[in-house]
C-alpha cells in the first residue's frame, strides 16, 4: 500500500496499483447531490438495486438488503429507478446540508 505523502521515488511506477481491493478505502459519498433512502418495510428483497448499483453501495447483511453505504453512494439514483414500482422501497431526496459528512 502506498503511504500518503510518499515522494516520487517511493511509489509504484506509472500509477500501478499493486494491492487489490483498495477502492473501498476511497470514500466517494461526498460527490452526492441526491441521496437514496431505503424503506425496509416496503423492500421485497428482489436485489435489483444491488444488481444495478454501479458502486456496490447497497449493503447486504445475512443475505438480505440492509441499507445504503453512504460513504460510497454517489447518489446516481439507479437503485431508486430499478426498484419495482409496487415496492417503491428506495426514494431520492436532496442531500443538501450534509454532503460530505458522515451519515
Amino acid at each position: 500500500m502506498v503511504r500518503e505523502g510518499a515522494g516520487w521515488r517511493d511509489i509504484p511506477r506509472g500509477g500501478l496499483i499493486l494491492s487489490p481491493g483498495n477502492a473501498a478505502r476511497y470514500v466517494t459519498g461526498d460527490w452526492r447531490t441526491f441521496r437514496p433512502t431505503w424503506h425496509p418495510e416496503r423492500c421485497i428483497q428482489c436485489f435489483l438495486c444491488w444488481v444495478y448499483c454501479p458502486d456496490a453501495a447497497i449493503e447486504v447483511k445475512d443475505g438480505k438488503v440492509a441499507g445504503v453505504d453512504y460513504k460510497h453512494c454517489k447518489g446516481c439514483g439507479i437503485c431508486a429507478t430499478e426498484c419495482p414500482d409496487k415496492a417503491h422501497a428506495l426514494t431520492m431526496e436532496r442531500d443538501e446540508g450534509e454532503r460530505g459528512v458522515e451519515v
Binding site: 516520487w8 511509489i11 506509472g14 500501478l16
Partner: protein
Amino acid sequence: MAQTETKAGRFTARGPKGRPAGRVALTGNEAVALAMRQIEPDVVAAYPITPQTDIVQYFSSFVADGRVATEFVTVESEHSAMSATVGAAAAGARAMTATSANGLALMWEVLYIAAGSRLPIVMPVVNRALSAPINIHCDHSDAMGARDSAWIQLWSEDAQEAYDNVIQAVRIAEHPDVHLPVMVCLDGFIISHALMNLEVLPDEVVKDFVGSYRPDSSLLDPERPITVGPLDLYDFYFEHKRQQAEAMRAAAPVIREVAEDYETVSGRRYGDFDAYRLEDAHTAVVVLGSAAGTARFVVDELRRDGRRVGLLKPRVFRPFPGLELADALAGLDAVAVLDRSDSFSTMGGPLFAETRAALYQRAVGRANRKDSGPSSGSGPGNGRPLPITVNFIYGLGGRDIDPGDMRAVFSRLARVVETGDTGDVVNYLGVRE
C-alpha cells in the same frame, strides 16, 4: 490464398554469430518489417496508412506464413491500434505497432497513456505531413507533434539506421531504469520506399540481442493482481509525472549503453548525434533524418573547396541531448538548424528552438558557475560568443531538398559570418515566393 513474398520475408540471413550476416537490398519499410520479424514481438496491433502500409502488410504476411508466432491484431483505427498495444503491453507482452501522420495524430490520446503507464512499446513512425491540405509525403510534423508525449524518439537517416534503431529500441524501452515507449522515425517515401543496400544481422543475433522480455508486473498474473492506469489526482499525479521525467533522464545513458552493445554485434556505431567534420568547422548545419545525407554530400563537396563546414545530425531527439549538442556546436561561428516541420510559434521549428535553448543554457550555465575558471579556458567556445543561429524550415509536404538548397544554406551562413548580420532568423527554404 495469395502469398505476399517480400525480400524481407524471403531473406534468411546466415552468418557467424556476432558478424554482419551480409548485404541485401531492401526498402526502409522492408528493413523495418525484417527487424520486427527478427524481434518477433508477442503482439502487433496495427492499422495501415501511407507510407507505413508496407510494414503492416509485410509483417501480417510473416504472421500468415507462420514465420513468427506473433499475435497480429487487426483493428479499425490507429486509436484502437495504440489502445490494443497498450493493453497487450500492460498484460506483459512485448508489443509493437507502426504508423504515419494522421494515424499518429489519431493515436495522440493513447500515446500519453502508453507513456504515462510506462509501457515499453516500440513503434516505427514513417514520417509524413499532417493534413490539411491532404498530403502523403514526408515531413516531420507528425512525430514533432508528439514530441512532448514522453516517448523516446530515435531518428533515422536511412534504411540501415532505421533497421538498427528498431532493434535497439526494444532494449531501450524495456530497460528497468527507463520503461518508456520508443518511436523510431524514418522519412516517408525517401527512406520507406527507396531501396538501400544494407547490412542485416542473422535472426539469432537479433533474438539474442533483444533477449526475452520479463515484465515485472502483468494484468494476467492472478497471483499478483495489479491495476493499470487508475484515477490519480492532485495527491499523486505530479509524482508520477516526475517519475516519467526521471525515466527520460535515465534513458540517455541507457541509449548509449545499448548502442555500445549493438556495435559489438553489428560493427556499426551510433551516438546521440552524428558530428560530421565538425571539429575544425566554422559553420554547420543541424538536420534530422534523410536530409542529413544531402548535407553530408554537400559538406564533402565544400570541404574539397577548402570551406570549413560540418554537419550535426541528431539521432536521439527525446531525450534531447542538449548539453552534448551545445558542446559540439559551441565553437562554431554560425549554425543553421533545418526543420522539416513548423511549430507555428513564429520563433522557428522545434529542432531550432531546442538547439538554441541548449546553446543558451550552456552559455548561462558557464557564466553562472563560479568555479568554471577564467572565460578564456581551453574548452570549445570558451571566451567566444555563441554561434549565430538561423533556422530554415524546409521540405514540408515532401518538397525535395537538393544539394543546391543545402549549398544555399552554407552560403547564407558564410554571409552571416562575414557581415555579422543575421538577417531573418526564421527562413523558408525551397518555398515559392
